[in-house]
């Protein structure tokens, strides 16, 4: 076996007093951490296999289990921290690129937490959402810049295609393949119940889910997996995926091991062949190419569906966004660098891109400077964690927000960040039938509906506090935000004053 330089990150602590050897931990751990020792009539565990996903902890009926981070470590070193050293061991061992999943865990500033929300006092009344209407309905899509009237002077009310959301929150792209059938079904059901939208991601649309088309955004990515006319017309909108916050500038890779019969059918690729989406779209090497694809898709769907262009938040995002806004796209989706992924090179995930808060602020400002903010809707994502984040995003200028990690958490994800292993104990990021079945869409969709409903209550509560009773009056209303502990540059980019000003 040689020397193993890697030590277990976690220790499984089992309270022998409480353990009733029901063996549920053993049955529920796809990593085979737990096993039953008949001789001693005791459960035993192998810490090296534990990824700290908490499945066993959650199901243990007597709460006899807890997973703790090992306090075994290297000699303190502010520069050569433990994880840095371990990464080197891993690469020295494997010679390969380090893979990681979900959003970056690195300690970058979270600007949401450095902004505070306003409320009314005396000079104007706050509004009680329990007594007064409080509106969160939102339309996404191009708005006409000049009204038109017919010969009798009546307004012509026909507009470019719009997406109507009851709540300005959508489930962002997660492909069938990166997540399970049941995870997708949970999202679809929830989107339908909530009157919002979920996103197929780049994996195509399973035939069973066409029935949720009214609440589906179909994605066209560089791999073009599962893209065909019925697919494009099945959804309510089409999203061109140019990039993803967790891995700007690189493509996707779904290992062949995850490509079973169903997925190969849905993606229109051979079974067990790796699904590789190229880094760029090979028919888009510049902005005018994008315009061509946008109109190709509009043609393919008879101009009935808004086209979303999704990009990762990178340094010159505002210029990019301005280009997209003039490409004919109806909606721009920007994905911040803290956004999640099913699998990405760790170095890319942890070092490439910029925070969504800054990207959003500069894009919104830029589009207004150019007077084209109303020609396009702005959707942002990349670790929106709460209703407060939603409010702040909208006040900074977003029309709606995308959530994925929050949605997965609602489905049971414990952010163990080992999606790439395909052994998700929560039945989310896996294709193994015995694991997939662990996510009952009835339960999953209910939890998603609960989450969004709860957020919506909080959003209305805070809107009322600000004396705002319609979400559009919050959009871009940066006076409702103040910075806390931010420097001049940050404040200037965010376009907000500091608390106290």
């Amino acid at each position: 076996m040689g020397i193993n330089y890697l030590y277990p990150d976690f220790e499984v602590h089992r309270d022998r007093e409480k353990c009733i050897t029901c063996r549920v931990c053993e049955r529920q751990c796809a990593n085979e951490v737990h096993s039953y020792d008949a001789e001693s009539n005791r459960m035993v565990s192998d810490d090296t296999k534990c990824v700290n996903c908490h499945r066993c902890v959650s199901l243990c009926p007597t709460h006899a289990l807890k997973i703790v981070k090992t306090n075994h470590g290297f000699k303190d070193n502010a520069n050569w921290k433990g994880d840095v050293i371990q990464d080197i061991y891993r690469q020295a061992d494997s010679g390969g690129v380090l893979l990681a999943s979900m959003g970056t865990p690195k300690d970058y500033p979270v600007y949401w937490d450095k902004m505070l929300i306003n409320a009314s006092q005396v000079t104007n009344p706050s509004i009680d959402p329990l007594r007064e209407p409080m509106e969160t309905k939102t339309f996404l899509g191009q708005k006409s810049s000049k009204i038109r009237r017919d010969e009798n002077g009546k307004l012509i009310t026909k507009t470019d295609p719009q997406l109507a959301l009851n709540i300005p929150i959508m489930f962002s792209a997660m492909s069938y393949g990166s997540i399970s059938y049941n995870a997708h079904k949970s999202l679809a059901l929830a989107a339908q119940k909530l009157g919002i939208f979920y996103n197929t991601g780049e994996g195509g649309l399973h035939e069973d889910f066409y029935q949720y088309g009214k609440n589906t955004i179909v994605q066209v990515a560089s791999g073009r997996f599962g893209v065909h006319p019925e697919y494009l017309n099945a959804g309510a909108a089409i999203e061109i995926k140019m990039g993803q916050g967790a891995k700007p500038g690189i493509g996707g890779h779904l290992p062949g091991s995850k490509i079973g019969e169903d997925i190969s059918k849905t993606r229109m690729i051979p079974e067990h062949a790796d699904a590789i989406s190229p880094a760029p779209h090979h028919d888009i090497y510049s902005i005018e190419d994008l315009r061509q694809l946008v109109y190709t898709l509009k043609e393919a769907t008879a101009y009935t569906k808004p086209i979303i262009v999704k990009v990762a938040a990178v340094h010159n995002i505002s210029a990019i966004a301005s280009g997209i806004a003039r490409s004919g796209a109806d909606i721009i989706a920007i994905d911040g660098f803290r956004g999640g992924t099913g699998a990405a090179p760790a170095r890319t995930r942890d070092n490439v891109g910029i925070p969504i808060e800054l990207a959003l602020a500069s894009v919104d400002t830029r589009l207004r400077q150019e007077g084209i903010r109303n020609n396009v809707s702005l959707v942002v994502g990349g670790s929106i964690r709460s209703s407060a984040d939603v409010i702040k995003a909208i006040a900074l200028g977003a029309d709606a927000i995308y959530i994925a990690t929050s949605a997965l958490l609602a489905l049971g994800c414990h952010l163990c960040r080992t999606c790439q292993s395909g052994k998700c104990n929560w039945g989310i990021a896996t294709q193994r039938p015995e694991l997939v079945k662990r996510l009952n869409p009835e339960v999953g969709s209910e939890r998603l509906v609960n989450l969004i409903t709860a957020w919506n209550h909080e959003i209305k509560e805070m809107m009322g506090g600000m004396g705002i009773n319609s979400i559009e009056a919050l959009r871009g209303n940066r006076l409702m935000l103040r910075g806390i502990g931010l420097n001049e540059t940050e404040l200037q980019i965010l376009g907000i004053a500091h608390a106290g000003q």
């Binding site: 000079t123 009204i147 307004l155 719009q162 109303n374 705002i468 871009g476």
Partner: protein
């Protein structure tokens, strides 16, 4: 100049919430009457103001110059006046210019230079600008107000004029000798800013071209409205509600060509639930307006009286969080924050009513 440099920030340097009193008087028959009744009306609402700003807008007061834009301008110092007049010369024919006649009043102090110009755009300049006359004029006004330090155009319409100052409105009326002006329509405003020294430009009515707005309230949608309207060439230098509301009305009514009715469906749009109960055709129209101009929805409390050539429009926020009373007597229409302000000038009106939230009251001259 020193008045321009206060220790406290001025309008434009910071945003101030404020409470207020408003009143409007209108003769449908177009009979012209002096500003006195407006002074009387506003005086009974003395306690709704705090002496930090008051003003009037009169319509039909310059019949002899009715084809020219009447600019009323504050100057803080002669340098500002020189620069501004230079700019005016470059862009307009100056038909007539004079100091606006005022009368010393013990409550009105620190007055700036107050000048009046009757102008018409230079034909060549106008042609080169490829803009219509109004747009051309509006842009020049916005330019002066945002670029020329110490100069501030506070009235720029035809056959109408705004008169405002720091002080109680009734004193302001006396100061500007409004007995000497006759108009068919008057609006008046008494201001209660919560933390400003008040400067003359910041007083209301706020006006652009012939639109003038008096407003009571504090809108919570301010920055959403401001950041949106500024995309269309407006520059909210004062950061006051009245300013942004005026600009939005100018944009929607003059530039987009919406009717005042339609304008109210944008800025005080009905709730979606209400729209949902309307006929399919109406639904389409209301939805279109609300969606297309979503960022011009005004939330938070407001009651406004919009003055324009030939009419008045009164509008409340959709929850009616501010008081607004209307009354009629023969051809006369009265609007005010408080009924008392009407009764004092018309003790027995034919009809008194409280316009409901979001429903505009539009009055125009009889044809």
């Amino acid at each position: 100049m020193e008045a321009y440099h206060q220790r406290l920030p001025l309008e434009g340097e910071e945003r101030f919430p404020s409470g207020c009193a408003i009143s409007g008087i209108f003769s449908r028959a177009g009979n012209r009457f002096s500003g006195r009744s407006a002074i009387t009306s506003i005086s009974v609402m003395h306690d709704r103001s705090n002496g930090l700003g008051g003003g009037f807008a009169g319509y039909g007061i310059y019949p002899e110059y009715k084809d020219f834009y009447a600019f009323h301008i504050f100057y803080y110092g002669n340098e500002a006046k020189r620069m501004c007049e230079e700019y005016l010369e470059e862009h307009f024919d100056l038909i007539n210019l004079s100091k606006i006649p005022t009368e010393k009043h013990h409550n009105i102090t620190d007055e700036p230079l107050i000048w009046r110009y009757f102008v018409t755009p230079l034909p060549t300049k106008l042609a080169n600008s490829q803009l219509d006359e109004k747009e051309y004029t509006a842009r020049c006004v916005i330019h002066i107000n945002s670029v020329i330090k110490g100069a501030y155009v506070f009235s720029s319409g035809k056959n109408m004029g705004v008169f405002k100052a720091v002080g109680f409105p009734e004193d302001v009326g006396e100061f500007y000798r409004l007995d000497d002006y006759k108009g068919y329509s008057w609006t008046v405003h008494g201001r209660y800013p919560t933390n400003t020294p008040g400067w003359w430009g910041g007083a209301h009515p706020f006006a652009l071209l012939d639109y003038s707005v008096v407003h009571n309230g504090e809108i919570s949608s301010y920055d959403a409205n401001r950041r949106f309207i500024e995309m269309y060439g407006y520059n909210c230098t004062l950061q006051t509600d009245t300013e942004v509301i005026t600009y939005m009305i100018d944009y929607l009514h003059r530039r987009q060509g919406l009717t005042l009715e339609e304008v109210s469906h944008v800025i005080a749009a009905p709730f979606w639930s209400t729209i949902g109960r309307k006929s399919e055709e109406e639904q389409a129209e209301y939805t279109y307006l609300r969606n297309t101009f979503a960022s011009m929805l005004i939330t938070g409390p407001f009651s406004i009286i919009l003055g324009f050539n030939g009419g008045l429009m009164a509008l409340n926020d959709r929850l009616k969080l501010r008081s607004l009373v209307a009354a009629e007597k023969d051809d006369m229409v009265y609007l005010a924050s408080e009924e008392s302000a009407i009764r004092i000038i018309e003790p027995n009106p034919d009809r008194v009513w409280h316009p409901s939230g979001g429903k505009p009251v539009i009055i125009t001259l009889n044809k």
